[in-house]
Assembly symmetry: C2
Homo-oligomer: 462 residues x 2
């Protein structure tokens, strides 16, 4: 029962592990687009089969949306009962023309920064979730059994608001409840410091459509007299921020705690290089609230973003249409203290208040979740942090994360469990974008990291 033997096994098996991941990546499991629901089923089936191949009692479990995959294994051991969560669904691929390869024909590429696996879902989240599965495989290959009771829990709707997740957790609470949830859907801090995320932003997503005339009009004959819905929508969206970058929604910042001096000192110590972080994507100027430090803007302050907008003629050439309607997709990242429904209500009130008498507006709620704050006083956190630090050149850190991983909050609210988020993504992984990739180093050392963490958490207690 030697950790080093398990780590060696992981090293030896990397080519096979990579082949398995590539196979998984070829399944185009885009959850938000109904056209790909068959592929989501296929991805769930693939996971069930793969878990079964390492002795886990795994099943696909249907939901009103895409299926869950639940697996159990309990081969003895002295550690805590762990639950590992990941998601097998991926983001859409458009704009497809910007990809250098078919997003669902993943490749291992040599780049100036080392080998990468390129394709949709490599980093978010198929590559990441497989680091844990491969660690378990190696552990069992070497020791004949896993070191503690583990429940595997994979969903297929994470990229589309997880509508089935909470009902499923509520219905199967006894089956899913464990001592600690492990989640692999986050990144390394500044691409090099291994990190345990203890603060996650929540999210409210909303689609709105402003309708003016009954039909598209000729902008010559009607322009100047008939209201233009794009003009109305632009005003609604432009008014979301004031000139200092502050979100203007009524009560938006109510209840948000200020950063504690301790936390501010810790974050200062991380030496976050925002110029380099923004420079990697062609930017240089922090765009958030003028009086906040950059790490606050992405970790502990809420946002309002327009994620999509469309209306009128958008093809080649020009069409002098005065369109009947215009739409946008808007999302808000939430932090501790904010209540999703209140933010949604405030946004709708903001939009309605800017609606001329002649226009109508409709809203579609796509999802909402509160921010997640983890309890780092659980000794497993420090044990995991030390184990992580053993694998990587840099000492591991507790960090925030601007993204929304609602599941972390749901483990707390639905199952009363604490969650530990450890992931190996890099800032340049281009998740949700064309040419998503996952570093081979992330995949390899990520797998090794989980083996170390399993080993650390499952040491016999004193």
């Amino acid at each position: 029962m030697s950790l080093s033997a398990i780590l060696s096994r992981i090293d030896d098996q990397l080519p096979n592990a990579t082949e398995r991941l590539l196979e998984f990546l070829r399944i185009p499991s885009i959850s938000t687009d109904p056209e790909y629901s068959g592929a989501c089923q296929d991805a769930a089936d693939w996971l069930v089969k793969d878990l079964q191949s390492i002795g886990i009692d795994a099943q696909k479990r249907e939901t009103p949306g895409h299926p869950m995959v639940v697996g159990h294994v309990n081969e003895g051991g002295t550690g805590p009962h762990l639950l590992f969560y990941g998601h097998y669904d991926v983001q859409p691929v458009d704009p497809i023309e910007l990809w250098t390869n078919d997003p669902f024909d993943p490749r291992v590429e040599d780049t100036a920064k080392g080998q990468v696996i390129r394709g949709r879902g490599t980093s978010d989240d198929k590559g990441q979730l497989m680091t844990f599965v491969e660690a378990c495989r190696a552990y069992r290959d070497v020791n004949g059994s896993l070191p503690c009771r583990i429940t595997f829990f994979f969903e297929g709707e994470e990229e589309s608001g997880s509508p089935s997740l909470v009902p499923f957790m509520e219905q199967h609470a006894d089956e899913l409840r464990a001592d600690l949830a492990l989640i692999c859907d986050t990144g390394m801090f500044q691409s090099k410091t291994p990190a345990i995320v203890t603060m996650l932003r929540g999210m409210v997503t909303e689609e709105l459509t402003v309708t003016g005339p009954d039909m598209d009009l000729h902008s010559g004959f009607f322009g100047g007299l008939a209201i233009n819905p794009i003009r109305v929508l632009s005003q609604i969206l432009a008014d979301l921020h004031d000139e200092t970058g502050r979100v203007t929604l009524d009560g938006f910042y109510d209840g948000i705690p200020d950063l504690t001096p301790q936390m501010r000192a810790q974050w200062d110590g991380l030496g976050f290089d925002h110029a380099s972080f923004l420079g990697d994507v062609g930017l240089s100027v922090p765009a958030g609230e003028a009086d906040r430090m950059p790490l606050e803007m992405i970790w502990s302050r809420p946002t309002a973003e327009v994620n999509g907008i469309w209306g009128g003629y958008t093809g080649a050439g020009f069409k002098t249409v005065l369109p009947a309607k215009a739409s946008a997709k808007v999302s808000f990242r939430l932090v501790e203290g904010q209540i999703p429904d209140r933010v949604r209500d405030a946004f709708r009130a903001h939009a309605v208040a800017r609606l001329p008498a002649d226009c109508k507006i409709s809203f579609t709620a796509h999802g909402g979740s509160s921010a997640g704050i983890m309890r780092t006083d659980d000794p497993a956190f420090e044990a995991a942090r030390v184990a992580l630090s053993d694998e990587w050149p840099q000492e591991a850190a507790y960090v925030g994360c601007g993204g929304s991983i609602p599941i972390a909050g749901h483990f707390g609210t639905v199952l009363g469990m604490n969650a530990m988020l450890i992931g190996f993504g890099k800032d340049d992984d281009a998740i949700h974008s064309p040419n998503e990739k996952y570093d081979m180093e992330s995949f390899h050392k990520g797998t090794r990291s989980w083996a170390r963490i399993l080993d650390a958490l499952c040491q016999p207690k004193d």
Copy 2:
């Protein structure tokens, strides 16, 4: 040489004239989309052949864009040398799903308001231009010759900014110059009063793209810190109007003459029912400058309209992307006194002034033309107005038109000619929109109107 015999011939031949028009309409001559350039050639060829069938020496004439069709006939007669202009190109058809029939499989439909011909280009402008051609055909069928020298001039780029028009007119000025231009691309006032348009708005069209980050970003990891181009674009567009509906561009209203008391009195006399005009398209409140009367808003005041906007994720479901760029198509309708290039420059300055340090912006000019003001002291105007009044139940009127028919201005500036705009479109023709139609009454009585006008203009002089 009896006018009544010509009018009877038009009545008898209406079924054949309709068949010819349907054939012409089946050619999908969308000028703005390069995919349809072959169809534009086909439409030009069709016109050449049809003109030749009535004894006109017609030819297709290539340009760097879509071809012109030019025809000449001079069979004697005592009238002025007339030039008739129309355009064979049509608008794009999207959103295609809102059409009740294939836009290029036109139908004659019985509706509660009478027979209509439904399809793209029926009213704008194939159906309209054919009223003149059919009048000439009937005139010649009955009299054996046309009553005066006529030049036919058709272009195929009217819906895409007419880039080849002025160069072609300049190169062939001697061939094209006539005593008076006739243009059939306008409508009846409030769908019932036959109208001669003496005031047309010009237009500036512009496309802009705001670019922020190098690539689409995850709105969780970057949101709050990285600038969102949709936010920037929304601000640029929202700021185009102030709260009174006035356009904010620097110098936008410079040089625009106020409506003369005489003109204001004449327009008041037209009894424009803006509630009904807007009510037909599901609206009720004039959206223009608060201190202007509704007819001014569409005839003699300039506008700023967003004709299309797009950016980020616009598909089904939700994608929490922070997009790399966002674009819009914007147009300005111009009136007497405004200079297209100055308006374009002012718009670009307006956009650049709202650009954060981290964003780039690019502009594409799609076209520009000044407003057109006709000289109604030419006695042909009053002769035509009387002839029109003889055909229709209502007395014909001189009116303005909010649309941009740049050719009217070009006849003046390039060839020194006056232009007379007479058309038979109705307000509910849905030109530029799904389910475009042309009333059979417009087609039939429009043809009869041109026969009367030809007859009136070509009476021997005292």
